[in-house]
């Protein structure tokens, strides 16, 4: 609970600091608040506190909270000079991101359906505004509107699903619902089944899994890159944690029922994400589509429910988060300098900016899943989990998709190192360097020595 309180208090403090024009204090204040909440999260390890049956800070929640808070800290470090160019009121942006984060912490720790809904809405409403925060930019406005409409739509599905489940079980409590399923395994109310499917659809919208992914590329492209970075890493991780908590935990007894549709979603997601990413000329759109494909890999953990499912998502999400943050950080730098975010604008980057190019190379190798990077361990855990039940065809299909992935991730490396381009020198602020170096270290460390994260949860 003190994690959420700290984040919210920080958000309000930042807002007031903004009112009193203390611009210089915004970032330190935010980082301080986030570090304190991170400390709270880490010290709460193994304590397993339940708050009024609505939220539970178990290790699962703490691990995912820590990951999302850390990701947010990294993204805040990238804000230097980012927002101030567009607007005077940057305190509001900070506040909105922090509010979204508070929603996220609720999403990873809920034990009651109503808290799931509240968490998702707190996060989403903040994101609707953040996506459109460049109010004079047409694409940004479009992204915001699209996100809002789709988001509201998916909320409808989610809410309807929750209602049906409530109708069947008479409770919002995950524990009670789980007990009901175990108790009435043979005679589950017919209301329950459509409820599960509707909730699944609603959550798939949120995590951008196909065929409910249509908003993703446009919103990711239209939103400011920094917000896209936040959405595709921290928000996505939270969405998966929420998904996992509900399906791997509460709905587990009905696994046989919801697994086949989920399997279909996984296959479509992998296929559409990878194949469309292949044809993108724009780096940012490629990242958007590839993030769809990563949603497919992440959902793998739900196909076969094992004791490791949750932890596998954690490993994968961590690998994906840090690699994506590198990718977006470099994208922001390149776009600030060249004004474009196509693959061509990365041409010849390797010569003048060895550090940036090396970081992005490692990020791409990690996203593609090359050994000795965190991304490989993440993918490996997913494959291993599914192979446990000998879903070999699914793994073979995923491997073919991974192959497609290699192709488009390499396009960036090819552009940076092998193509002649205008020799640009990026202005890399110290904070960017810190983020890049830290993310690279984490990516390689988790790839070489993943033991510390493998049995966390």
């Amino acid at each position: 609970m003190n994690i959420i309180i700290t984040i919210v208090v920080t958000a309000l403090a930042v807002l007031y600091a903004g009112l009193f024009k203390a611009k210089k204090a915004l970032l330190p204040l935010t980082l301080l608040g986030l570090l304190i909440s991170l400390t709270f999260a880490v010290t709460a390890w193994n304590s397993n506190t339940v708050y009024y049956g609505m939220m539970e800070m178990d290790n699962f929640a703490i691990a995912f909270s820590s990951l999302t808070i850390l990701g947010t800290i990294f993204i805040f470090l990238l804000t230097q000079n980012y927002f101030s160019k567009n607007s005077e009121n940057i305190a509001e942006y900070y506040t909105l991101i922090l509010f979204a984060l508070s929603g996220i912490v609720i999403m990873v720790s809920y034990t009651n359906m109503s808290m799931l809904f509240i968490g998702i809405e707190i996060m989403s409403v903040a994101l609707y505004i953040l996506a459109g925060i460049r109010k004079n930019n047409f694409a940004s406005n479009e992204a915001s509107l699209k996100y809002f409409l789709m988001g509201a739509f998916s909320t409808g599905f989610l809410l309807f699903g929750i209602t049906l489940v409530y109708g069947a079980t008479g409770s919002f409590s995950l524990h009670a619902i789980n007990q009901y399923l175990i108790g009435n395994y043979q005679a589950v109310s017919p209301l329950f089944y459509p409820g599960v499917i509707l909730i699944m659809i609603g959550l798939c919208f949120k995590i951008g899994a196909a065929p409910f992914h249509f908003w993703t590329p446009d919103v990711y492209e239209g939103a400011p890159s920094l917000i896209t970075a936040f959405m595709s890493t921290v928000v996505k991780t939270a969405g998966f944690a929420a998904f996992l908590r509900l399906f791997a935990g509460t709905f587990a007894p009905l696994h046989d029922f919801w697994m086949p549709p989920l399997m279909a979603i996984v296959c479509i997601t992998l296929f559409i994400g990878n194949v469309t990413a292949l044809f993108q000329k724009n780096f940012k759109r490629m990242l958007a589509y590839s993030s769809i494909s990563h949603a497919g890999y992440l959902l793998f953990s739900l196909i076969t429910l094992t004791a490791n499912s949750a932890n596998n998502v954690m490993v994968y999400a961590a690998a994906y988060t840090f690699a994506s943050i590198i990718a977006f950080a470099v994208l922001i730098l390149v776009k600030q300098k060249t004004g474009h975010d196509t693959f061509e604008s990365f041409n010849g980057l390797g010569k003048r900016n060895p550090l940036v190019a090396l970081a992005l190379t490692i990020a791409m190798l990690s996203l593609a899943g090359i050994p000795l990077t965190a991304g490989f361990i993440g993918k490996y855990m997913m494959f291993l989990n599914v192979m446990n039940e000998y879903q070999i065809y699914l793994v073979a299909f995923a491997i073919l998709n991974a192959l497609v992935g290699f192709y488009y991730y390499l396009k960036v490396i090819v552009a940076m190192y092998f193509k002649e381009g205008s020799e640009i020198v990026l202005e890399t602020p110290v904070q960017y360097k810190v983020v890049l170096i830290l993310s690279v270290i984490i990516t390689i460390f988790l790839g070489v020595y993943p033991t510390i994260i493998l049995n966390l949860i």
Binding site: L365, I370, P371, L372, Y380, F383, L384, M387, N388, Y390, I392, V395, A396, I399, A402, L403, F406, Y407, L410, V414, Y417, F418, K419, Y449, P450, T451, L454, N455
Partner: protein
């Protein structure tokens, strides 16, 4: 003892990290580290007892939760490939001395990184470690070929990378399957040897591994990436690919495929031999038609590797021992050929056979060295190629007489196209291009000298090398046969 192997594997890594920061002096630093590795290898080879045991074993816990350990060791089979790697890497670095590569620090650092990856592949006793080494060797060579290659390098290398990574991923699938079948849930090679899979499972595992190995070697019809990549890669890249990297595939078959899924090998080995023999004939015929000398050597390499692969799947002592020695010989010869062609290219900017001629007149030393290498390649008795091809053909003969009839064509065809190439490049009349051809000097002389000496010494006195691997190969075959009888 244990520290020796760790040092052997990680010395190139240290070398790479140091080299990366040395700017224009990189080639000297890289050479020092490569020679140090060679010296270390000599120490290892000196202490090695040629029995069937695995020596210098390192077994450190790594990712214990997943049953992965840093388990490596050297037996006779490993020692030959380790020797191959550590003898050829300094030669390749020395062969690159005349080139002014842009950003040399990166170039030579990547070569050393690749060396480390190769050493992991050749010593791994843990399937997962093997896979890591397999990929770790691929990434540097991809960058070497794609950054310093010819003008079509981007397209060609993408094909190369996607091909090889596709193979690797299927191998990974097989490795995960084996891991799950293993009650101990680890990747230890001995545990995997002990597995009892039914023939259908073995068939699947066979293909998941074989495709990866076949792409690397390459065996027909998985070879289509090879000629383009060899042609477009920088000289050192071609040498690394043809001299050392393709041996990863051969080594993989011997070390992992045969003992783990012998029934799969028995069921599908015939197919593998047929593919290899088709590859031999097909590649030889195409080699005839090549106008570019580099492509000719690339195709001849497919033919030679086809012979090795057929010899292995014949599953007998001669075939396997022939493969061991031929791995070494082929590496030396093919590096020699590519180096000569690189020298020619750097002087006259072409490798088109028809445009050359008469080089022997102005460059007699080069001509002699080239002749020795060509003789080694066409397996003249007294050169290194002879021993290997002879043993391989005996091995294949014991398996099937028709296979050896067609496989034997490689010797005849090889002699024809190799001598014709030699004749057209070195002999005959000089033209405007070749009239003032400068003879080899300095490092070129040293490199070709080393290669020629190796060709002749191995050809005249191959016994020590054959002796190194004999016991290990013997044991491997016994293991395979034992397992095959227990399945029945």
């Amino acid at each position: 003892m244990e520290q020796l192997l760790i040092l052997l594997i990680f010395l190139p890594v240290v070398g790479a990290l140091v080299t990366a920061f040395t700017g224009n002096a990189a080639k000297h630093v890289a050479l020092v580290f490569a020679v140090a590795s060679l010296a270390l290898t000599a120490v290892v080879a000196g202490q090695f007892v040629p029995d069937a045991s695995t020596q210098f074993v390192v077994n450190l816990p790594w990712i214990q939760d997943l049953g992965i350990s840093f388990h490596a060791g050297i037996d006779g089979i490993s020692l030959i490939t380790v020797l191959l790697t550590n003898v050829l890497v300094p030669v390749i670095i020395l062969a690159s001395y005349q080139h002014n590569y842009k950003s040399p620090a990166g170039f030579f650092a990547l070569i050393l990184f690749m060396q480390a990856g190769l050493l992991v592949v050749f010593t791994a006793m843990d399937a997962f470690l093997f896979y890591i080494g397999w990929e770790a060797a691929l990434i540097p060579i991809y960058f070497i070929c794609a950054i310093w290659g010819g003008k079509d390098r981007i397209k060609v290398n993408m094909k190369f990378f996607v091909y090889t990574i596709a193979g690797s991923l299927f191998m990974l699938l097989g490795i995960i399957y084996l891991y799950l079948q293993n009650p101990a849930h680890n990747f230890d090679i001995q545990a995997l040897y002990q597995l009892h899979l039914d023939p259908v499972q073995q068939g699947w595992i066979f293909w998941s591994f074989f495709i990866a190995f076949a792409i690397k070697m390459p065996v027909f019809p998985f070879h289509t990436w090879q000629p383009d990549t060899y042609t477009e890669a920088p000289a050192a890249g071609t040498m690394l690919l043809s001299g050392i990297m393709l041996k990863m595939g051969i080594y993989g078959v011997i070390r992992w495929l045969l003992p783990i899924v012998p029934a799969g090998v028995q069921d599908w080995g015939n197919t593998a031999i047929i593919l290899s023999v088709i590859g031999i004939v097909y590649a030889s015929l195409i080699a005839f038609k090549q106008r570019d000398a580099k492509r000719l050597v690339a195709y001849s390499s497919i033919a030679h590797v086809g012979l090795i692969s057929a010899g292995i799947f014949a599953l007998n002592m001669q075939g396997l021992q022939g493969a061991m020695i031929q791995m070494l010989s082929h590496g030396i010869n093919v590096i020699g050929l590519f180096f000569v062609l690189d020298i020619v290219f750097s002087r006259v900017k072409t490798n088109t056979i028809a445009e050359l001629g008469g080089i022997a007149k102005s460059a007699p030393k080069l001509a002699i060295a080239f002749l020795i290498i060509v003789l080694g390649t066409v397996a003249l008795p007294g050169t290194n190629g002879f021993i290997g091809e002879f043993l391989l053909l005996i091995g294949i003969y014991q398996y099937n007489i028709w296979a050896v009839v067609f496989a034997g064509l490689t010797v005849i065809f090889g002699a024809v196209y190799m001598f014709r190439m030699y004749q057209n490049i070195m002999l005959g009349k000089t033209n405007e291009l070749t009239v003032g051809f400068a003879d080899i000097k300095g490092t070129e002389q040293i490199v070709l000298g080393i290669i020629c000496i190796l060709i002749i010494v191995l050809g005249v006195y191959p016994k020590p090398i054959l002796h190194l691997s004999e016991a290990s190969v013997q044991q491997l075959l016994e293991q395979v046969n034992q397992k095959l009888t227990s399945v029945k």
